[in-house]
């Protein structure tokens, strides 16, 4: 036992001497944990190969980071960020993607987007999204081939995503429809029934909106289940691991624009857009809650976060409704990532003791 008057062997550091107990690793692990249910659903929906895709993505990210950090004489895996990036890359893959694609995406994300700029904290773009976008432009065919849910046995059953189906269907569409859901129905877009043991859920959330909400639709492995992604995010929001400013401003601005103009492509008037459909179909929930909120590539201040979220919402709307892609979330977020330094500069907080304009 140390003696009070002679030897203490106590540490000497600069204040503060207390800490709330958070850590980078805890943040990453929490996000990973909250993402897991949606992944389990994806694997259930699209088969074991999806699990393989996710695991390979994680392994490729971890290995790339390990090797590159090692070359620099560092070890960085204990911050868990590489695992999270790998998980997100896996979630952003179509279920039937050839296995080398997630590997390429992972090497690109970790090697080029993250480590080449100095590792965690220096990447100016969300690495997982950069990986996905890189693949989308380079292997467009594979990245837009989707598997019909719950067709585990036959690998050949493919169908377009709801957004993709609507987009391509609208190209030579002449008549008018009330909106995307009715449009899908009129074209006979197939949606499989949930298996028996999940039937009560299907009754609770019936129809096509229910299928969208539960995630019984084609899409990327981890993005389809809106409900599970939302549930996971509640924990992150309550624990303040993700800020409410980004998802609320992102989803809010997007929803407003869709409501205002989203009906136009169907020949309907202003203020008739199907907001619910656009929120639940596609990658918006995953993007707005888990990717746009990536701390490194989003602004520092609350007001900056709102500007960033509104920008992402606007761009997603623009790409989805007027662009040539059915989606738009990934591109919207990485474009906004590039504006983050500018936004941070614009939204510096007012220092205490400086008279705010218009006051006093």
């Amino acid at each position: 036992m140390a003696d009070v008057k002679t030897t203490w062997n106590a540490r000497v550091t600069v204040s503060p001497h207390l800490h709330e107990g958070s850590s980078t690793a805890k943040i990453m692990i929490s996000v990973i944990a909250c993402l897991l249910p949606a992944g389990v659903w994806g694997v259930f929906l699209f088969g074991l190969y999806s699990l393989y895709v996710i695991l390979v993505s994680i392994a490729a990210c971890v290995l790339t980071e390990f090797i590159l950090a090692r070359l620099l004489g560092r070890f960085t895996l204990n911050d868990w960020s590489a695992v999270l990036t790998g998980l997100l890359i896996g979630y952003n893959m179509p279920p039937s993607v050839p296995i080398y694609l997630p590997v390429i995406a992972s090497v690109f994300a970790i090697g080029v987007v993250k480590m080449a700029f100095g590792g965690l904290g220096r990447n100016w773009m969300n690495p997982a999204l950069a990986g996905r976008v890189f693949l989308t432009f380079s292997w467009t065919g594979f990245m837009t081939t989707w598997k019909t849910p719950l067709t585990w046995r036959s690998d050949a059953v493919t169908s377009a995503t709801v957004l993709g189906y609507v987009k391509s269907g609208l190209v030579d569409f002449q008549g008018t429809a009330l909106g995307p859901v009715e449009f899908l129905a009129s074209k006979g877009y197939p949606l499989p029934d949930l298996p028996g043991f999940l039937a009560p859920l299907g009754r609770l959330f019936p129809g096509r909106y229910g299928a969208l909400f539960l995630g019984n639709i084609p899409g990327c492995i981890g993005e389809v289940s809106a409900v599970l992604l939302l549930l996971g995010s509640i924990y992150l929001l309550v624990k303040k691991i993700i800020s409410w400013e980004i998802p609320v401003s992102y989803i809010g601005s997007f929803a407003l624009l869709i409501w205002f103009l989203g009906g136009r492509p169907f020949g309907a008037g202003l203020f008739t857009g199907d907001v619910l459909f656009h929120l639940l179909a596609g990658g918006l929930v995953l993007g707005a809650l888990y990717m746009a909120t990536d701390m490194v590539s989003s602004p520092l201040t609350r007001s900056g976060m709102i500007i960033y979220g509104v920008g992402a919402g606007f761009l997603t709307f623009l790409i989805r409704i007027y662009g040539s892609f059915p989606e738009g979330v990934s591109l919207a977020i990485i474009i906004m990532n590039m504006f983050v330094p500018l936004i941070n500069r614009m939204t510096r907080p007012v220092v205490f003791g400086y008279v705010k304009e218009g006051k006093e």
């Binding site: 001497h17 709330e20 510096r348």
Partner: protein, 439 residues
């Protein structure tokens, strides 16, 4: 308390309070140290000029260090005895300093001349008394009180604020003082009222000290004193004078300015009590209340301690360590200084000695900044600590100054919340020193 409690604006944190160790324990007299190490600089400003030599005999309360100029403060011997030597020591802050080492000898002269009549003295005489007795701010910053009380003709004092917030976790010295020396504090306030003639007197206390609030209310009612006790929502760093003024008046002290710029003067309760002792009892500032506490200490307690008492003596008085100590801190856990040497003395600004556990002081892996913005949200001064830190890391001190480095009060909120465990405050301190050196 049906209405919403007042508090400051943006930022701030609410750490676990840990006040339960000592908030029920009455103030006890710490033993007279066999050897008091009395630093000549216990205040902000220039060190006091040494008036004694080795071998001199000193009385309790005798002036041994004379203020060297306006921005300085007198230092008195806290015990009777013989000057052993003038030694170079390091203060808890790590600053080197000369100290008079007094060996305890002889008797205390119990000069019982009763309470002095200060009521008929004019403000200038009272201010001189405060200066003579070496009064400095006891909240930790140790700003010489006479300077604070020297008001300008052009700007009269609107509000005198007594800071009874004690927002640092663990500390209960001010709490116990308000509870046990209520009358003395209120008389101290009357003395200050005579010096400053403020239009109003506000007494800020956080809601986590209900017994002190009640005691103050009772005593104020008994004397029908014109003092408003304002109960504040418990939040750190509300005890910072600028944040306290924001909480009480809604106004911000201009950057780089003093509270007087918005017509306010703020004093800690400890300071007000010291003023009472100095003026009404004729006693210089030679002791203060210190909370000695922490999870790795056997018997935490609040002590009245002679200035110059080595920290080790106080820990011994508390029964020693109950577990292996992780860190020993002079002051509060958010702004205090880790101490390596048991011989470091208690000075005028030492409000507490904390013995933190191994677990609380374990070094944590530092990871790169992930730009989460929590430090920005936590900063009560509207700074972006991560941005400042990056400028300082890149030795761009001028840029850091432009971004508000000098507005940082080192309150520690940013470091408290940083998930990457970046030593932000260390960066701020370094940056300020380097910027001053260059400028």
């Amino acid at each position: 308390m049906a209405h919403k409690l007042r508090t400051f604006g943006e930022g701030g944190v609410h750490p676990h309070e840990f006040k339960f160790f000592t908030n029920e324990s009455s103030i006890r007299n710490a033993p007279i140290p066999p050897e008091a190490v009395i630093p000549l600089q216990q205040h902000m400003g220039a060190p006091a000029e040494c008036l004694v030599e080795a071998g001199d005999t000193v009385r309790e309360g005798m002036l041994i260090g004379k203020a060297s100029g306006v921005f300085s403060a007198n230092v008195h011997s806290s015990i009777p005895g013989k000057v052993k030597e003038i030694r170079d020591i390091y203060l808890a802050t790590g600053m080197p300093c000369k100290a008079v080492v007094v060996e305890f000898e002889g008797e205390f002269e119990r000069g019982d001349n009763g309470p002095l009549q200060w009521q008929d003295k004019d403000p200038r005489e009272l201010l001189d008394l405060i200066r003579e007795q070496g009064i400095v701010g006891m909240g930790g910053a140790t700003f010489p009180t006479p300077i604070k009380f020297t008001t300008r003709e052009a700007s009269p004092v609107e509000t005198f604020v007594i800071n009874g917030v004690e927002c640092e976790p663990f500390l209960t010295a001010d709490h116990r003082l308000m509870l046990e020396k209520t009358a003395g504090i209120l008389e101290g306030i009357e003395i200050v009222r005579r010096v400053l003639s403020p239009r109003s007197v506000l007494f800020g206390v956080e809601e986590n000290k209900p017994d002190a609030i009640e005691a103050l209310g009772r005593e104020i009612a008994r004397r029908s004193a014109d003092i408003e006790v304002v109960v504040l929502k418990t939040r750190y760093p509300q005890g910072d004078e600028k944040q306290l003024l924001k909480a009480l008046t809604g106004r911000e002290v201009p950057s780089g300015g003093l509270p007087l710029d918005i017509g306010a003067v703020v004093s800690n309760v400890g300071t007000v009590y010291a003023i009472y002792e100095a003026v009404a009892l004729g006693k210089p500032l030679i002791e203060r209340i210190v909370t000695v506490t922490g999870p790795a200490l056997k018997n935490p307690a609040n002590f009245k301690v002679r200035i110059g008492t080595p920290v080790g003596n106080l820990l011994e008085e508390c029964g020693g360590f109950s577990a292996s100590p992780g860190k020993i801190v002079a002051g509060g856990p958010m702004m205090g200084f880790a101490v390596a040497d048991p011989g470091v003395p208690v000075v005028k600004g030492t409000s507490g000695i904390l013995v933190l556990s191994e677990k609380q002081s374990k070094p944590v892996l530092q990871t790169p900044c992930i730009g989460c913005g929590r430090c920005v949200s936590a900063c009560p001064f509207g700074l972006s600590p991560t941005t400042l830190y990056k400028w300082i890391e890149h030795r761009e001190y001028q840029e850091a100054m432009t971004a508000g480095l000098m507005d940082c009060k080192e309150c520690g909120c940013c470091g408290y919340v940083c998930p990457a465990h970046i030593p932000l405050i260390q960066g701020m301190k370094l940056g300020k020193q380097m910027a001053r050196r260059k400028g």
